[in-house]
Amino acid sequence: MNVLRLALRTLRREWHLVELRTLAASLVLAVIALGVVATLSTRIERGILASAAELIGGDLGVSAPAPLPDAMLRSAQADGLTATRGAAFRSVAFVGEHSQLLDVLATDGVYPLRGTLEVRGADGRDRVAHGPPRGQVFLDHRAMVGLGIRPGQTVQIGGRDLAVAAELLRQPDGGELFALAPRALMNLDDANDAGLLSVGSRARHRLLVSGPPAAVTAWRSDLEGSDLPAGAELITPEKMQERMRTAFDRASAFLRLTALLSALLAGVAIALAAARYARRKAGEVALLRALGTPRRRVAALLVTTLAALALPAAALGMAIALGLAQGAWYFARQLFDNIPTTLPLGPAFAAAAMGLAVLAGFALPPLVRLAEVPPVAVFRESMQRRVRRFDALYLVPLVTAVLLVWVQSDSAKLAGILAATLAGVAVVAALLSALLLVIARRVAPGAHPALRLGLAALARRRGLSLVQATALSLGLCALLLLAVVAPSLLEGWRRELPADTPNWFALNLQDDQREAFTTALGKMGATRTNMMPLAVGKLTAINGKPIDSIAFANDDAKDSADRQLRLSWAAELPPSNQVVEGTWAGPAPSQAEVSVDTSWRDRYQLKIGDTLSFEVGEGTLDAKVSSVRKVDWSSFRVNFFLMLDPAHADQLPHTWLTSFYLPRGRGDQLAKVSRDFGNLSLIDVDALLDRVREIVDRVGGAVRWVLGFSLLAGALVLAAALAASAQERRKEAALLRTLGATRAQLRAAAACEFALLGLVAGLTAALGALGAGLWLGNAVFRIENFVPPLWPLLGAAALAAFVVMAIGLFGTRKVVRTSPMALLREG
């Protein structure tokens, strides 16, 4: 009879065993937890990416200083993609004697491919629109105020009269999130006819596409593999503004964190169930070995039985996970309105594979060890547990866990922190429970009978108690991280964008305008006003070597060397900047010094002490690199790649850059002020702030969904693990009842035992979650001064300890209710 048939038969016979069902249930739950989280995460990430696509108005794009070749459009269409052409440029609009510089986007009628273009018509009603037809233009509110017109009137752009068809309310931004001037949207053919896009117009031409993800990916790799026209670059959702990217990075880190912790929870439950199954099988293996069954055949039978159990369980878990993920998406999709996504199947298969890997990692070592039980153990049960030869096998679950963390998290830092935290929790839990056992032995003799029985039970099952306390601590730590730390991290992130975050920037303010402009701002009720000097120049040499003669390794360095640089200076290191190399120059160093951002250091491979030469206006400045800064670009503060020292930079020709918070609805007043300061450029970042806030909210909603499933799965897994271990107590309880112990005494003893276990686990888990929260908040999620909420954490830990006790008691209820005779017969 082949091993598979025998294994199937064994499985059918043993199916009624609690531990085997627990093992199967743990695996099903593990795959469900991993599968639901992974499927939802993938879908949510797609949703988030799709919402990034909203921001660029398509799934992918190319922009270039010259019109893009028709071949590119045709290749996109051949790949099954929809495409839209456009061009962004600046032009002055005239209405009577009023004039206004505008940021104009000229598009065809297909724009936008993703996201929505919202306008308010002459009738005052809001509607969703596409690019305006010929002869029409949409203007934003500031443009209308600046020009003194309303929808229905006419404006002249590029010498052509265009009807203002509607007020532009919201548009996907086309990669240019900063609208320096008031915005206008006009027809591409009109722009062409007006000669606004002729050679030398400084327009930025672009082609945006949208379509099925596979087709977009294919087109993208075609583009990346070909020579793009000179000066062309890809517009991708990922290549969004640095701040937006940070938001996405954090979003996916949150989702990965939840998925990862669910997986580890499942591993803990599987390890417990497998160890118990192995203990159950030890007697059987000893018998089989005594009857002459070869070791290999025993091992093959055990492994095949496990596989015969695991494969259908994994398949079932996968099917349920897909069903639940689909159901959850039905409710969660409101978070991603108007973004269609398909149910991804890959993550559920990956989850099943991971579930099986977890099972193999955690369950195989005790079973393989089992085959080593000596045949003579058939006479002496104690010998069944004396196999030491395969101790090293217990490295397998450890390695499995680390690999799992690695694969799931895709982030070395996140993986490292979680691995270190969980290892720390395991060690502390083991030490604390060992201490508890020592105390138990000392205290037990004089204690209350129930406590004495409980303590004695803990001390007697020393090994099991240690394993159980450690497993519970790990499980609870993962749950606390999910339930308390993750939401508070999210809240911390939200707090970084307070309601009065500066939402306007004003560029080009002259020295003699500073006072008047500040006063005007004060009158409008602007707050959080901050001014920084701004000089525009070029990098001419590094260490005296002209920039043109340096062969840069990357095109990026060469391109940016050709561009104009923005330089600023301050006596003190600005907030959200951190010096990582060298020292901050201070107000007046003996020679000119410059501090560079880390990306600049990397791009030009700079070292402390290098000299950079700048040309600013008519003058030049040689500055020594004295420090390297790490800048938090997501802070919404004004930051610069290059900061000079004030003593030497003050002499450079410069203007001032102001950031301030202006309550919404005061844009009209600002437009009037800006007319008094004709040279000013105003940047409205409200739209960007709204987007980031929206993303934080979307991620918050999504994390809550994923969290709900993780918590449910985690709680079920823990309950299963505890219930399985409660079986160990049946024999003992039967004996105690035979000896005359009352049900109340048994319940009290079990309550004491589980409460102590819960206390150790809760305390350790709270400490672990606190440490990991601090670490994650500051190192991974980069939330300044993040401290996890201590009291909710301790409260949750106490609740967890209570739940452990309740579940433990629930698990022993059958033992307490059944007659001792029946229990003794059961063995």
Binding site: L6, G283, T293, L301, P374, P375, F379
Partner: protein, 218 residues
């Protein structure tokens, strides 16, 4: 068995369980080892059956030197030649009576396992209870299932470790009758360990183990 010793190392140093034991049992003979608890009876049985190896001395089973074999080779010898009956029955609680009897044959890949198990259970009078789990059987019935399992693959040598030790006198006698009857029918060599003098007396020969040394019973 020639000059066999067995020692183990415990917390208090070396413990000699058996010292210089010599024993020869002929094919088809029935032999009883008696002795007080802790005298080393079960250890001796384990060595004779090839479940363990001696610290010194040599053991031949059906002419084959066990001490020179590795565990897998000894397992093959056990599979081919040996049957066991244990004091605590060692039935697998998750399997029915029939499945317990089938198990060793199934592991051998014997396709006739079920039919042979039926016959063996019929032979011990439990044909009607073959679907019962061990917990649903009395102690005597469980030991009868164990006897069926021990004889089902027709071993040349049967080792019995206190086969009636967990049974009342009446049931013990009944199981003893069955054991000797089956032994006779199958012409098996029987080596049993017991402290039941009456069971030992039913064997052709017996010896007493006292403090690790074998002697003639008083």
């Amino acid at each position: 068995m020639a000059d066999v010793s067995k020692s183990v190392f415990g917390p208090e140093g070396q413990l000699d369980i058996l010292s210089g034991v010599n024993l020869q049992v002929a094919a088809g003979e029935s032999f009883a080892i008696v002795g007080a608890s802790g005298s080393g009876k079960t250890t001796l049985l384990g060595l004779l059956a090839g479940l363990d190896v001696p610290t010194a001395g040599s053991i031949r089973l059906d002419g084959q030197a066990l001490e020179s074999m590795d565990e897998e080779a000894r397992a093959a010898v056990r599979r081919r030649l040996v049957g066991f009956v244990f004091q605590s029955f060692h039935l697998l609680p998750a399997l029915t009576a029939e499945e317990n009897v089938m198990l060793p044959m199934e592991l051998e890949g014997d396709d006739t396992a079920r039919e042979r198990a039926h016959a063996a259970l019929d032979a011990v009078g439990l044909g009607a209870r073959r679907r019962h789990y061990p917990a649903q059987l009395s102690g005597g019935e469980q030991q009868r299932v164990a006897l069926a399992r021990a004889f089902v693959h027709r071993p040349r040598i049967l080792f019995a470790d206190e086969p009636t030790g967990n049974l009342d006198q009446h049931t013990g006698e009944h199981v003893g009758d069955l054991l000797f009857e089956m032994n006779r029918q199958h012409a098996t060599t029987l080596i049993l360990v017991t402290h039941d003098a009456r069971l030992a007396a039913r064997c052709a020969r017996s010896a007493e183990l006292h403090e690790g040394r074998l002697g003639v019973p008083a």
